[in-house]
Amino acid sequence: MEAPVEKPNSRRSFLKSAGSLSISSLLGTAALMTMSDDARANMEWAEWFQGNYRLMSEEEKALARARLERRYSREYGKKVVVDGTPAQEGVLMGYALNIKKCIGCRRCAKACVEENNQSRGKDQEIEWIRVLKMEKGEFSQEKMNQGYPEGLGIQVGGNAYTPVGDVLEGEHYYQPDAVPEKDAAYMPIACMQCEKPPCVKVCPVRTTYREADGPVVIDYNWCIGCRMCMSACPYWARRFNWSDPNLPKEAMNPVTHYLGNRPRMKGVVEKCTFCIQRSRQGRYPACVEVCPTGARKFGNLLDPNSEVSRIIARKNVFRLKAELNTFPKFFYFMD
């Protein structure tokens, strides 16, 4: 059905018939007339018209991936693979993080960028993992007299005095010479891959959804950029491409998955997928492998012998904001 129009020599006939169509087709035609390595210019018209990935037939999915492979290979000057491996029976991916071991080195955040083709550089830097530095305590003898009314303030008592508007919630931008710092604890946060994801509930176009093996994914092509999911997420796990992503050719990771690390475009939301392009092939996510302290663990929650299952069985685990009933598959633990 689409084969004939994809041939370059039929471009003219396509232009003729598309001339009277909608806005998006106009964008498409404009794109076809320029030859550059700009993403929009390289898009084949069929990409503008493709359906929601989840609703496509197997052939349509394969065609969509082949189209992307052509476009990406051209844009990045190397052979790019867009995989579509589906969920495997009997697998529910889960994650555990030893919060006592984290030293705040941020290697996970950087490895994630190497793997997942995020935008980098000054203009738009996107990292899916954020690492918070937390003070271990704020209590001291000197503060015992704080918290009593100054002027018209309300008495809060002793050490608890904090002016309105100040938060104790930790730092993102700490930059010491060496970590871990004395008296600091670190808390990495990324997508929790909730079993009941609020982001999925709010998506007006159903482009973000939970896959059968657990991860919550996004069909970037179907995303309209409304950012409802971002405001629904209680963990601040989603990022938005406000402008065209900056992904240098040589740094681009050519092994991608349709629902994972394939290059994104301006105006779409992205987030952690447990490295679906790796984990569906049996490989640990990049952040698990890079963590120098071994604080990050990943595996199949349905397999009692997996590392995560053993941790849940043996250690004290908790889930972030469990009271919201999001049922994260990301567990924090300590030994």
Binding site: K101, C105, K110, Q146, Y174, Q175, Y284, G294
Partner: protein, 253 residues
């Protein structure tokens, strides 16, 4: 106007490319700086063995997680309940410069004269100061252990178990496990330490051995004093547009 600027630019480019060609191969470290170095190389089209952090020199990404590994061999605790799978490790012997010498040149078992086999701490005059500056204050065990609790008393190219049987340097977990049983158990189950490769419990995994992360001669270093050396952190995230400093989050009350 353009030409004069053009020539120096070309020259500069040429110099840069030359400098690159002569530059040392990129070396970065996997886990413990100074004890787990790897050299970057291509192992396939567009596929390096490792990607390294330009800021800290740490490995950020493995192209092949099993590069340079050998089978770990069975765990001496036969009926222990651990995730079996296919375990591989990187041999430690390659990293130990003194190992080929120590067993035959310096400590042969009879030499030096009066070959000391006592486990009492003593001063090592002018010896091994790169490893322990002051041997009477070994920063491991808080005064309760000595070199020969770990190194074999007559075969110095071996470590030693509780029954004076030698252990290979490639199997430090057997040494550490004799005193740190609980950690050893967690390590066998994949809870302590780390593994890279395949996540399935039956998959092939590269296990990191204890000395890839801990310096056996110093586990009390750093501000936190808890067994794991401090690291230089990676770059902080870029501040949001328009924000000049991150002072807002550092305010003390």
């Amino acid at each position: 106007m353009k030409k004069p600027a053009f020539l120096p630019a070309v020259l500069l480019l040429w110099f840069v490319s030359l400098a690159n060609a002569w530059a040392e191969p990129v070396k970065c470290f996997e886990s413990r700086k100074g004890a787990s170095e790897v050299t970057q190389r291509m192992i396939g089209e567009d596929l390096p063995n490792v990607k390294c952090s330009p800021k800290t020199g740490a490995v950020l990404w493995w192209g092949n997680p099993f590069d340079g590994t050998v089978p770990m061999g069975d765990m001496p605790i036969q009926d222990a309940d651990y995730t079996r799978g296919k375990a591989v490790v990187k041999p430690r012997s390659d990293k130990l410069g003194l190992l080929p010498l120590c067993g035959n040149s310096c400590h042969t078992g009879s030499l030096p004269k009066g070959f000391p086999t006592s486990k009492d701490a003593r001063e090592l005059v002018m010896m091994h100061q790169a490893i322990v500056l002051d041997s009477t204050k070994l920063p491991h065990g808080r005064g309760n252990i000595w070199c020969l609790d770990c190194h074999h008393s007559t075969q110095r190219n071996k470590l030693v178990d509780h029954r004076d049987k030698p252990i290979s340097f490639d199997q430090p977990q057997q040494l550490c496990g004799k005193c740190h049983g609980e950690v050893y158990r967690d390590w066998r189950e994949g809870i302590h330490g780390k593994r890279i490769g395949e996540w399935a419990s039956t998959g092939t995994k590269r296990w990191f051995v204890c000395t890839e992360c801990h310096n056996p001669h110093n586990v009390q270093h750093g501000d936190r004093n808890r067994g794991f050396a401090q690291h230089q952190p990676e770059k902080a995230p870029t501040l949001p547009k328009g924000m000049k400093t991150a002072d807002h989050e550092r305010q003390k009350h």
